[in-house]
Symmetry: C2
Subunit: 292 residues, 2 copies
């Protein structure tokens, strides 16, 4: 497999899909705001994992493209809302003005609401047009993991923990809900669409959790060890913002050990999917070994 070629083809499909779902209608601003800002420079992590998992369990990844776009819409709404002045108050993301800076705060709130809603609409529309309840199940999997018991609950705990050192349990809850949950959602929803049995779904749940935590530990480590040039954002920003990280809570040595152990476990678990899981496995490896 020419991994880079396959990766680029898959990203192109997702970009085309998103462009199509967000083709401006009336009022154009509610389509333009998320298209221009929310999706700029995105890695497409979650929408790559979702059809990847579908393929790994023996399904057709094309069946999962609508859901891949939907999970990217949902991820993007969380970024737009997290950046708002009342939340993290960030003016830039990936080097470009955030949605509320480029447009206005009210439009950013509505662009986020619109993307969350459009994510669910897209999944429901897929389920109805394909006439198969497994799509409804996949949508529920995503809905549960990105809701008040998942990503949204995590953001609340994160906001309440600001300016005080989080304890181990709280930090793990935040990383689990804010980072791992949507990765688990992508893998599990893809697998449901691919027709996975409950044992395989449990395995993907475990992989998603471990991949998410490893990904976040790597983020926390890079914030200390990388350079601004490589990272594309200021290093040491977590410390400066008084943010608890895996490194500040568990120490650097333990963070590095856990990162290596989790990465190894993820790769071991993914290799069991054999040739069908080759893309997912290679993508996961690059993801956790990334340098920025």
């Amino acid at each position: 497999m020419d991994f880079e070629k396959v990766l680029n083809e898959k990203i192109e499909l997702i970009n085309e899909g998103l462009k199509n779902y967000l083709k401006p209608k009336y009022p154009p601003l509610i389509y333009q705001a998320p298209r221009d800002r929310g999706f700029a420079g995105a890695t497409r992590l979650r929408p790559l994992l979702l059809p990847g998992a579908c393929e790994a369990v023996g399904g057709n990844p094309a069946d999962a493209l609508g859901f891949a776009c939907a999970i990217e819409m949902i991820h993007t709404y969380t970024l737009i809302h997290d950046d708002l002045p009342a939340m993290d108050n960030d003016d830039f993301r990936r080097g470009k003005p955030t949605c509320h800076k480029a447009f206005s705060e009210d439009i950013a709130i509505l662009a986020g609401d619109g993307l969350l809603n459009l994510g669910f609409e897209t999944m429901l529309s897929e389920a109805v047009s394909r006439g198969d309840l497994k799509y409804t199940k996949a949508a529920l999997t995503i809905g549960e993991l990105c809701g008040v018991r998942g990503t949204i609950g995590g953001q609340v705990v994160d906001l309440l923990s600001e300016e005080k050192k989080a304890d181990e349990e709280t930090l793990l809850y935040i990383h689990k809900t804010k980072t791992a949950a949507l990765i688990q959602a992508a893998l599990k929803a893809g697998a449901v669409i691919g027709g996975a049995d409950s044992e395989t779904l449990s395995a993907l749940d475990e992989i998603g959790y471990k991949m998410g935590i490893a990904f976040q530990i790597k983020d926390d480590i890079l914030d200390i060890t990388s350079t601004t040039e490589v990272l594309g954002k200021p290093v040491g920003s977590d410390d400066k913002n008084g943010k608890s990280t895996y490194v500040s809570v568990f120490g650097f040595e333990r963070a590095n050990e856990d990162y290596l152990r989790l990465s190894e476990e993820v790769c071991g678990l993914l290799e069991k999917f054999g040739e069908k899981g080759a893309f997912l496995c290679e993508y996961a490896k690059r993801l956790i070994n990334r340098v920025n």
Copy 2:
């Protein structure tokens, strides 16, 4: 039918359902914020219409209770977000502090996000546990009408029209999307759950549209003709806020004529459902003839 008794029983069922869906888990704040503020003093209009339509088309209204709670969650999220400082900047709603005043702006944004997500989760969970695609279809109906082509699109146009007189087409678009859409959604989703055919669904679409516009015209008329005591909020607030209304755009006489015509048409259409539609018909009559 002892209408008041039946009405109160139905409201009690909805309140119990909502209390149950929002039973505090971790972090409790994300359940408490919408429970304490968002649902205070609500009329339960949309969650009464939804099972009412299910019953009117021959279904069991108990099958629609989860969806009734879901549509109230979605309606409540729009109120919480509309009240935010960056949007309408309202400190009070129904005589109580708005969510961002009682808690904080970040929590209000997340409480709104959480309710929208929980609304979809609730509908998807109903669809999966009942194992019937008609629930997925009902959820899609609601999702389409409350999204960027519905309520959210309407709020964008409303914000963009502030401080300038809206033309007739723009005002109708705002009333259609911001008021009628969720009433149409309630009636159509209830009817889908009740097993309605496409002809009946079209009729309920028309009823929902006309009911929504009549409801909104009545609102605009009461803002001029009522007293602060009867209305429970200052009269003349639309004019004071420079808000275009049906009365300011079409004139009082035309507004009153349209209101009476639409109300009559709604009642005529609803009477066709006979005894099964008795509750819905009576409720609709009271709704459009209300004095506050």
